[in-house]
Subunit: 315 residues, 2 copies
């Protein structure tokens, strides 16, 4: 398994690539595309002038603009990297600038809603290839991105029925070039899978950190001091971008509530086992869950080092 | 803040130290005590002959025995490092070997139950100083320990009313010497604090990993492949020692069920906010939780590196 990005390509995969929304994900794509020579010209599009100024300072793109239609003008590939609640407005604003044959893709964490928001606005002859790289950190903004973010991570494509196969293949090649493994599934199945592997874990983490902060019997200072007992693990994903995650939950409502219902059924059984002293039930579950982690480590999606390889001194 | 253990002491803090249960925590104490010259003689006590053989191979103690009463014979300090469900039996078996003036301590993750189990068995003139180092990894056994495990972590002492102050001070000095910060509180308050900072997070993690493994609509292979979206974080603590954690839940029943009840109330509110599209409520919570992580990082209980400083390639 490669530990770093390969050498740059002799010729770019796309001529002009516009990245709309230049946060952690958008700026990581830009860095990887630049390093690997995947784009002839990179265009950064962001409504935040401070972000555009930072893009220019860091030299992350050849062009930087707040004008969506102008930014995607003549683009061969336009990638939407904004919170999923803003997709409809972004698609509507960019549509007039898109040329026939252009590919529009994205990186959103939900897919059925994204398709419903974007597809109606796209002109005929523009191909939409929805994508979701399952990668990230708890940090946000153009300074948080890095070129190896997608290395050995999965990118899920959810093309609609009748999608242009050539366009799907070009998007697949783009992600493969950045070191990602690419898989294809329906948007509906994607939203169910991600509800359990990503959305509900975030919701649970936000919830437990919020509950702990509100207790009247344990001080916030105690929660912070003694967090190394397990709690601090949850605070990482509970420090993720609030706008992005608000939109994820509002746009994957059914799958999230369904998975949350499952969790609640199972936690009720665990609570009952604790109340009645049924140690065997607890022991059996705690043994089964170890195997799942071994599986994740063995497919290269997690470090085998104890404690995530955290530095021992906590610094 | 120190990044490594200090130099060895000129004279040991204790003459003879017996460590009962030679897993991750017991073997880490042994390694630290050896490195820092905290014990004149280290005695490893474990009922598992394979563990004793490993202790001899690794040279982790001067003596290694399965006989509890003999192992604690003439000990100045005996530290119980076994799952908390076994404390009563351990205390009963070791009692005949304890000399007057000896200090018995422990490392258990619950404290009220531990005191109730141990105290009645101890001969007069033996001092019990309950302790809990809030440190660990998801790995188990004598090979998993390391000398810096307690560095910059908290160790909580929960002496009972009327405890011998000299004995408490000696145990405090022992943990301070290993690089821990020491705090004192009642056993009851300890059990409440740890329920939210450690026990319930473990229960929630075990639960979500178990639920994900049992879904009929998402395969286990999909859960494993796409775990980098957040789920894999939970699998770390859900890979912790099953016996240890079964015992923690059975012996801190009331506080765990109380905290779990709080979480359930709060998650019901979140589910309702999602169902009714109340984005502001979600956004407010997600913003508050970021501050808690910043607090944990600022007191040195967590790394500021993104993604726990995990290696980028997932290896």
């Amino acid at each position: 398994m490669p530990e770093r990005l390969g050498p740059p390509r002799a010729a770019p995969l796309f001529g002009r690539v516009a990245i709309i929304g230049f946060g952690l994900i958008g700026s990581s794509i830009a860095r990887a595309a630049r390093h690997l020579n995947l784009a002839g010209t990179l265009v950064a599009v962001d409504r935040d002038e401070a972000v555009l100024a930072r893009v220019r300072e860091l030299g992350l793109a050849e062009e930087a603009t707040a004008d969506l239609a102008a930014g995607v003008g003549d683009a061969d590939l336009a990638i939407i990297c904004v919170p999923v609640g803003a997709y409809g407005a972004v698609a509507e604003a960019m549509a007039p600038g898109l040329k026939p044959g252009a590919i529009v893709s994205d990186v959103g964490s939900v897919k059925a809603s994204v398709i419903a928001q974007v597809q109606p606005h796209l002109p005929a002859g523009v191909h939409f290839v929805p994508a979701h790289p399952v990668a990230g950190t708890e940090h946000s903004g153009p300074d948080a991105g890095f070129a190896t973010l997608f290395l050995n991570r999965w990118c899920i494509l959810t093309p609609t029925e009748g999608a242009d196969q050539g366009a799907v293949d070009r998007v697949r090649n783009f992600w493969s070039a950045m070191g990602a493994n690419v898989e294809t599934m329906t948007a509906q199945h994607h939203d169910l899978v991600l509800a359990i592997t990503s959305h509900v874990p975030h919701l649970i983490a936000y919830n437990i950190v919020g509950t702990a902060a509100d207790l009247e019997t344990v001080t916030q200072s105690e929660v912070i001091k003694f967090s190394a007992g397990g709690f601090r693990d949850f605070t990482r994903i509970a420090a993720s971008d609030p706008t992005m995650w608000r939109d994820v939950f509002l746009h994957n409502k059914e799958a999230v509530l369904e998975m949350l219902g499952r969790l609640n059924e199972d936690i009720a059984l665990l609570a009952r086992a604790i109340r009645w002293g049924e140690g065997d039930k607890l022991f059996d579950l705690f043994t089964r869950t170890r195997a799942i982690r071994r599986g994740i480590i063995s497919v290269g999606q997690e470090t085998p080092e104890p404690d995530f390889g955290r530095r021992r001194d906590g610094q």
